[in-house]
Symmetry: C2
């Protein structure tokens, strides 16, 4: 411990005594905890709503999508900001394949003619909506060029269940153009499944039920999507891998070896375009055929039908397939004691258009955190570990800025990274946490210490109240009794994905959500005028976000012993193993029941002869799976984690000063690798880029997480042999994790 730190300790002991929360800080001695809490209190007082607002105003002043002048301009401004806060910052550039549209046509050609406008008009009183010369047109990036005319089929969300429904009605999308509504899964899943089922084109529209008039007043009267609003977005095949399609696994540096465009695996094979509901309504109204099931129906004043036809649509899409530079801004605050242990924090800076909510509402918190941490350095603070703050480019295109950086720096990140903390589009409401279980306790502790801007309590109290009010009885009991609120595991859809899924770096996605319904997502109306009328208008939640994530970053960076929670990891693993067993049993029961119903003519007897219905085929009854390897490994991890925790607890007893011994670094050197043990060099079946064995975005959800995905998706897909093999592979990883934790416990034991 340096003299300087002791000096600080003396200076702030009064302050520290005032903090009411007596919870010990995991990984800290009592003395170090007092110092830490003092610095955190100072930190939390710095972020300023007004600075958040002004940063958003500046960054959203012009469209700043990938390749735009203002995208680069913003990166340079961000660079200057970080430097002005005292950080060691630079811009890292990659060159990526980035398509922008050259020709876009959607027209109904039968039974009547209708030409889709494919454009969003400026709104009076919203100055940036009129910057049409700089706006990207409405499109979905990374869809193939094509020019097709075909019957139209409505496929609801276009997810696997919907194709099951189509099959029951005897409707095929082969040779058809599908129209899907937004929602239910990552948008890229819709054309992917459509193409797999033989469709030649895909339209995706925003139904007013989901974010238009049915959900509230539309812009500019309210926050919801008006009739011409269009959701842009990428349709890159995120479930296979994010990042530049031409440089899988490697950074898209100037000299990287690139695939030919025709060999890229993540470009959608059919043309796709997004539509407003004004453009979609005449198309949907012209569809005939069977009535759409009740849950497929949106809020347009029409009879929703499935097709195919008689509506026929002409869809043409031609893009400029060009190489485009992107600009990641990377800022560094060197650690004092453990500079080679990195705590990383990021949020993207690129937007589809002006992007006030997405991504700037999160990015401005990054900036305020960096400014506040810089100010602490001015007051004498230095993080024990190195902090790396990042503003990513090309997230909207497919998490490309972060993925390329992760791929380019994979080796050093595997050695050095302790954690990655992410944010993105954030609103008012409840703190939403999704991430690696080893971070759950840390983040839960922080949430207990930050004041909620709207209620007389903490963020944590609101989070718990929400589960109590809206959860199942089991969730409610858990929220009242479990040591920590249960955190969601990490899916995809923002920049934490490459860190956790590709490299096994503990990561978390941290935003506020739940109170601001939003119908401007990825449209020209997500801008400063909209945000400051309808979202976190006082920037109080922006400040709370900076306080929350900055505190978590400090606590991770300053802890003598890295505060991973292996008990939480073990308990969560046990829960997932139990879920998998239940899943197989439920699947077996469902298949047996359905087979019986087929045998008993139940479908034939419940079919209206005026309606087409195709009964399902019988399916082989699933075998029992050998879950023992997974169960034994989860048990081993549970025992190891308990041992580790008990040693840590006895070291923390009293003043816990042994945690301040430099020998603790030997333990850190072990546990920094703990999440990496949960990955596999070979990756998941069919998608080797995804190396993490405990969580990945679902192959057919795109954003939504699948835990123990190799096993879970094998069960869902009825690949029973594969499921058994994956059980053994995941069991081996959990065994390795148990050994690592046991080794860490023994090393920690030596400090006593």
């Amino acid at each position: 411990m340096s003299l300087k730190v002791i000096g600080i300790l003396g200076a702030v002991v009064g302050l520290a005594a005032r903090t009411a929360d007596p919870r010990p800080l995991t990984g800290y001695s009592a003395a170090a905890a007092r110092i830490e809490r003092d610095w955190e209190a100072r930190f939390q007082s710095i972020p300023s709503p007004n600075r958040l607002r002004e940063a958003m105003r500046r960054l959203s002043a012009r469209p700043h999508h990938v390749g735009s002048p203002y995208d680069r301009d913003n990166a340079e401004w961000l660079l200057a900001q970080f430097r002005s806060f005292g950080w060691d910052a630079h811009i890292e550039t990659f060159s990526i394949l980035y398509p922008t549209p050259r020709e876009r046509v959607v027209e109904l050609v039968a039974p009547t003619h209708f030409q889709a406008a494919l454009r969003e008009p400026a709104i009076s009183g919203d100055p940036t909506s009129a910057q049409q010369g700089e706006q990207l047109p409405t499109y979905t990036a990374y869809a193939a060029d094509g020019d097709v005319t075909a019957p139209l089929v409505y496929v609801n969300y276009g997810v696997p269940d919907d194709y099951e429904e189509l099959a029951r009605r005897g409707v095929s999308v082969k040779g058809a153009i599908v129209i899907a509504r937004y929602g239910g899964a990552f948008r890229g899943i819709k054309p992917k499944l459509a193409a797999q089922h033989g469709a030649v084109g895909c339209l995706i529209y925003s139904d007013p039920k989901d974010d238009g008039y049915a959900a509230g007043a539309v812009y500019p009267a309210g926050p919801m999507r008006q009739r011409d609003g269009v959701q842009r977005g990428t349709v890159i095949d995120l479930s296979v891998e994010p990042g530049d399609p031409l440089t899988p696994d490697i950074g898209a540096t100037a000299d990287a070896k690139r695939l030919a465009v025709s060999d890229a695996k993540t470009i959608m094979p059919i043309p796709v375009l997004p539509l407003s509901y004004a453009d979609a309504e005449p198309l949907l109204a012209a569809i005939g055929g069977p009535l759409a099931p009740e849950r497929w129906r949106g809020a347009l004043p029409i009879t929703y039908r499935i097709g195919a036809g008689p509506a026929r649509v002409h869809l043409r899409l031609r893009s400029n397939w060009e190489m485009t530079p992107i600009y990641d801004v990377i800022a560094r605050l060197e650690g004092s004691t453990a500079p080679d242990e990195w705590v990383i924090r990021g949020n993207h800076h690129d937007a589809w258009v002006n992007g006030a909510a997405d991504p700037l509402s999160g990015l401005v918190a990054v900036l305020e955190e960096a400014r506040a941490l810089g100010a602490l350095v001015g007051q004498g603070w230095r993080p024990r570990r190195t902090l790396i703050y990042c503003a990513w480019d090309a997230e909207e295109a497919g998490l490309i800025g972060s993925t390329e950086w992760v791929e380019a720096h994979a080796e050093e990140l595997r050695r050095h990274a302790v954690a990655y903390l992410n944010s993105d589009n954030t609103d008012r409401g409840y703190l939403n946490l999704a991430g690696s279980p080893v971070l759950e306790a840390l983040l839960d502790d922080v949430a207990r210490e930050i004041a909620d801007p709207e209620t007389h309590g903490t963020l944590w109290q609101r989070m718990q109240a929400l589960v109590v009010r809206t959860g199942t009885p089991e969730q409610r009991t858990e929220a009242r009794t479990r040591a920590h609120l249960r955190m969601d595991p990490p899916g995809s859809g923002s920049d934490y994905s490459p860190f956790v899924h590709h490299l096994g770096i503990p990561a978390a996605h941290i935003v506020f959500a739940g109170e601001d319904d939003n119908g401007v997502y990825h449209s020209i109306y997500d801008d400063f005028a909209w945000y400051t009328r309808f979202d976190d208008t006082s920037f109080a939640y922006g400040r709370a976000l900076a306080q929350t994530i900055g505190t978590a970053a400090m606590r991770l960076a300053d802890a003598p012993l890295i505060p991973y929670d292996f008990v939480g990891l073990a308990e969560t693993s046990q829960k997932w193993v139990a879920e998998l067993k239940t899943l197989r049993a439920a699947e077996a029961e469902q298949i047996a029941e359905q087979n019986r119903e087929i045998r008993d003519s139940v479908f034939a007897r419940t079919t209206d002869p005026r309606e087409a219905f195709v009964a399902p085929d019988t399916v082989a009854i699933p075998p029992h799976l050998s879950f023992a390897p997974l169960e034994n490994a989860a048990d081993a991890l549970t025992r190891a984690a308990a041992t580790y925790d008990s040693v840590r607890a006895s070291l923390s007893a009293g003043d816990g000063s042994r945690l301040d011994a430099s020998a603790v670094s030997a333990v850190n050197a072990i546990i920094i690798q703990s999440e990496r043990e949960l990955t596999s060099r070979d990756g998941l079946p069919g998608r080797p880029w995804y190396k993490h064995l405990l969580y990945a975005p679902g192959l057919y959800t795109g954003y939504g997480v699948k835990t123990v995905p190799g096993v879970r998706e094998a069960i869902e897909e009825k690949q029973w042999a594969a499921a058994d093999a994956e059980i053994r592979r995941v069991g081996a990883a959990l065994d390795a994790e148990a050994r690592l934790v046991t080794r860490a416990a023994a090393t920690l034991e030596a400090l006593r």
Copy 2:
């Protein structure tokens, strides 16, 4: 057994041998069963789809609402039909209070002006829709006169849960006009609750989500409600009592002592009018205030909001409150052996306008049954018991024709009635049964023997398949393993109600439903043109309905021993007692949980300060209830029923000829009173007309049934002392029932 019957037996034995189903007929000796099955087979061959069609054409040729010339004309034609079939028929006339509208105004007066059309236009290709001179205007009968102008509040279905939601949002309907959508409960519940909450007027509209374009193509392209279609209907307070409001408990004969109109208890105290969605849309669109909860939103292309205001509506309703004659057609076929035991069958003949589906689709089956039974008489058949076939008037006004007849003949019905079988509006699809549990086995047996018109199987196989496909796992298992498919208990909404609820006559409502979505209910478009394009167009289900109910009527009329199923009654009673215990426990748990959440500030912490929210108040924790009297009585009934069944089974063994002994009449004389034992002279709390203690329409559902209503509604209303008292009262009734069944078993035993 008469010589004639033996002669018939010889003649038909070959036919009887061909019937495949070997199930014994409960209450019959083997010989009597063979004869019965033969007559039933002959009966079933007679009903003719073409005659059903032609009868519907004739009866629906002009509007035939209460008081119209064609209502009387139809009654006289029906009388002539019954007589031509050989029945002893007459018309019984009552004089009822029947309001028809003189002035109707609905207009939006702020923030803009809109005048509701309140009329349904003729549709080309639908000749009767143009009979505007004879049509009743769109209105809801038995709403008070009034002329009010007030802010508008949208209350969803206007049921108790909806008022709970309004309270949470701090919205009051006091002094307001409410607009409710059709659905969720009997329409009369909507103004009743609105008035109880202080509203001064009520509008009820048909949302296109429920039976308009969202549910399918609209008329004349399809069967669903077009923009101007209006659902008429009564808003009489059915849950208090049906029938003429001026003659509660007594028949509305010419000389009946009548209440003053101002003393009538079942007239709605506020003005009410129904609206098409074309008329409703401008009103709903003008409402401001909080966003309607998601499940409140319909399919109009608007943002559904709650109000109150700024929309203000002027509603004026003035009716002609006149005495009007109604015509019940009563036809009788005298029983041979037991003429004083009556099996009654009915369906109403009055309609809101032309009424092809409602009521004629059911009434034409009544006619075909009567014709076929008349034909059997010509072939030598005579029912053992008396059959009474009825065509009721003024059902639409509030089950008035049947209720007045039941009240006028209460004493003889109490002595003589064995069962009442009802139908009404029927469609294609699945046989729907609702009724007294003692009839469940009989109807289930019949359903096993009638062929389904659309599938290669019986009605019963389709019914079972539907439960298997759509039920819960528990319902599915029960449908596969229970002796009979579980029948719903009787709610209200058609003419069985006075029989079962007021007098305790075992009754059942029997229709087909499930395949014909319908958006013409109670509009001018429910006519022959619509029905023969979109409903049971081949009248195959009309024929099946006649076959089903006619067979059930014959089997009830011919059985030596009345085939009541006391085991089913006992099992059902046990189930309801268990449900009541679960209900109390769930209520107690829910209250305790909510109180805890209030104490823990859960509501305060999950409220968006931009939205109004009023947390609920804490409620006293429910006491435990003394269920023992009900449990002991249900056990006693279970034992008595088992004894009765075992005696009956041993008497039925071999040729079962002892069942043919005339002494069986002594048993019939006992059990004919069995359902009467389940009634109470005092009736249900607050609604003494409802005498049945095991089922009634809910006080706040109107149609939907509540089983053991005194106890159930006391628990739902948190009237714990009342619940305990009702438990004792129902327990006493079940005890009396057990004693009656024990006495019947002993009397039956004497036949051995």
